[in-house]
Symmetry: C2
Subunit: 461 residues, 2 copies
Amino acid sequence: MLESRILDQLKTIVGSENVATERQDLLCYGYDATQMEFLPDAVVHPGSVDEISQILNLANAENIHVFPRGAGSGFTGGALPKGGGIVLVVTRLNRILRIDTENLIAEVEPGVVTEQFQMEVEKLGLFYPPDPASLKFSTLGGNVAENAGGPRCVKYGVTRDFVMGLEVVLPTGDIIRTGGETYKGVVGYDLTRLLCGSEGTLGIITKIIFKLLPLPEAKKTMLTIFDSIDGAARAVSTIIGNKIIPTTLEFMDHATLQCVEKRFNLGIPEIGRAVLIIEVDGDRELIETQAARIQELVRPLGLVECKVAKDAAESEALWKVRRLVSPSLRDVNPDKFNEDIVVPRSKVPDVIRRIEKIQQRYDIPIVNFGHAGDGNIHVNVMIDKTVPGMEEKAHQAIGEVFQAALDLNGTMSGEHGVGLAKQPYIHLELKGAQLAAMQAIKKALDPKNILNPGKMFPVKS
Amino acid sequence: MLESRILDQLKTIVGSENVATERQDLLCYGYDATQMEFLPDAVVHPGSVDEISQILNLANAENIHVFPRGAGSGFTGGALPKGGGIVLVVTRLNRILRIDTENLIAEVEPGVVTEQFQMEVEKLGLFYPPDPASLKFSTLGGNVAENAGGPRCVKYGVTRDFVMGLEVVLPTGDIIRTGGETYKGVVGYDLTRLLCGSEGTLGIITKIIFKLLPLPEAKKTMLTIFDSIDGAARAVSTIIGNKIIPTTLEFMDHATLQCVEKRFNLGIPEIGRAVLIIEVDGDRELIETQAARIQELVRPLGLVECKVAKDAAESEALWKVRRLVSPSLRDVNPDKFNEDIVVPRSKVPDVIRRIEKIQQRYDIPIVNFGHAGDGNIHVNVMIDKTVPGMEEKAHQAIGEVFQAALDLNGTMSGEHGVGLAKQPYIHLELKGAQLAAMQAIKKALDPKNILNPGKMFPVKS
């Protein structure tokens, strides 16, 4: 509970209509896409960067923890107010401030929904490639804070690659600008990219300058079914080895295909062990040539079937199998842990085989799909929390999955971040002086450990 | 002067043949591409990461400053041992450790020369795009430390965009790994990109993992001459606005053309006020289409002449005008300050006009050329140091040039960094809490201010 004089100060800063302390309001801001829940003491909805700065000044003076939050769509609890404090919701800052078609940049506030931004720039013939699965509701501030990815990243890069500059309220309440309106810029440390993916622990993003691209003229979608996981993986290497970098190279393993087929009966051949959805984009003629070349390249690799979409409607139909994955998974078991390991792309078959062994050892269904082009695999550990002991077993299995990725020179997470969910495993990846350097940076920018404390890794104030 | 017991310790670490204290040796490592010179107390050539770690441990224990150095080709004094101490040369670490054609990554030591690396990956059909002008002698470690750019960055991005992971010796002597072999990765803070462009103040880079691309099939070079600077600038916007992102968009202003013409008589029409060298690369057929389209687009913009290279030899001939710029400049005046401001690309004509006014006001020749595609202009302030007062006047003029770039939402430096040379102006760009955040990070990672002290911005130990 916050003292009433502090609540009064918050109300003075943001207006009393923008401070909530009723239980039903607190409940709405205590959860995210994990299955965790923590109630804050108050929820505030500031309307400007100055109000955010004042809230952090107050928080520092009174030693109150502040948890920045966008749409709350994160998979690792990065926005959850564990230990209590103030949830600071940035969704009132939701304007697209400008789209500069001459310099191919846009300036936005953090509360803009990703898909809405994409649609606005596309109207002008421009393109913002990062496409996290949550794009219909996640916000750009959250995308930057988590360094969001998505299927198109294999060709275009991740959110970080499109952030040119930021306005940020530091944990101390100071407002700073980082980077700017030019893509090149080497004056001072790269605070812009340090903040990307810092999960709301180093500052609250209040403005973002994005780099945009010209919108590709056309795209072409293919669905390819292989008789082995190695065939699909070799297809990925072969395509890229032949100098074609597709926009997306989405992969589904046998377990995933079985789930989707059992539930929706799409007619995937029984012999199919892995699916790749391959999309190329760009010049209309070039992508026709590329699509033909891709079919030629993958044919000898155990190709069972290849469907090529002739138009947008057919493309949508091919993507259907991918979109039906999530609803199908619930048939396996009601609860899931959704991890997102990455390995160098040539090691995808190896890590899938290791995961199969882990699954057998723990007798827990694990279903894998994801972005084969950059080796980013969504590992879905399917459990039933009502079965005694199953959740604990799942956590052990996940630890082994992470270790398998790390043993193959990979990482525990390519998109979701650490937050609270992956902290029990963080010591597997971040060690000794590397972790100490990160902790020292956090301490340097947030001496009282006010901002989103307890996230990513432990830090003492 | 270092005490002899410390020299003995250094010799024990790296071998006595790798420690130099003779004046002629110190002279060789006390200069760079600026006209500054500072003598170190000793020069050491470690042969391994462990030796570098031991040197930094010793430096911390004894409070000795350490200045990491690659090829010493920097333009801002970033490697210069101002105040004395140990110059730590990394050029013995010069192996390309592996080039992984399946995952399109390479692992190298910092002392590899940029062009040598490019040639090796190109032999395998791969591509490392960053192309600083110094690539024939600069080293990859220095490229990362300075976040080097080059003409091709408009399409492909800067050095930072190709760095996936690092091995680094922190100022404290601790050896850490950052990032890794996967392009996606969001576990912990992005130390990789924090180190890119940190100018050797936060760590000594001992290994680099680079992302590579498939080598483009072909390229096509065009030289276009315009009757006004605005025409050339509109050409840049028009080409990009029409969804063609050329590999390079190199620009030379009227003063530059006059220098080159006067000295080398290349036959540039007198009416020509600006030149753009435009290069496109990629699919052989597509670039033919793009080259034709570019000619069509730029024709109405005051195009005086357009030459299109038919083959590699003709392409080389077109680039000649650009390569002759530097030797021509010396005819204007013997000494130059070579700055590299950046503005949003639509503001290039505006900043050039402001620079012309500054030149008139100070009566000092200023010659501009550079990378118009990303608004990165090399501003060459040509002086004669033997003329009393001219150097001081030049410094004032440079301050105004920087302010002009900043007023147009640009930056003081896109490629060269701050080092020592730009420190007198740093307060124009980095202010208050923004600068304080950077200073706090430096202090967090280098509490005794041992590593490359006095560079970029002032920090107290």
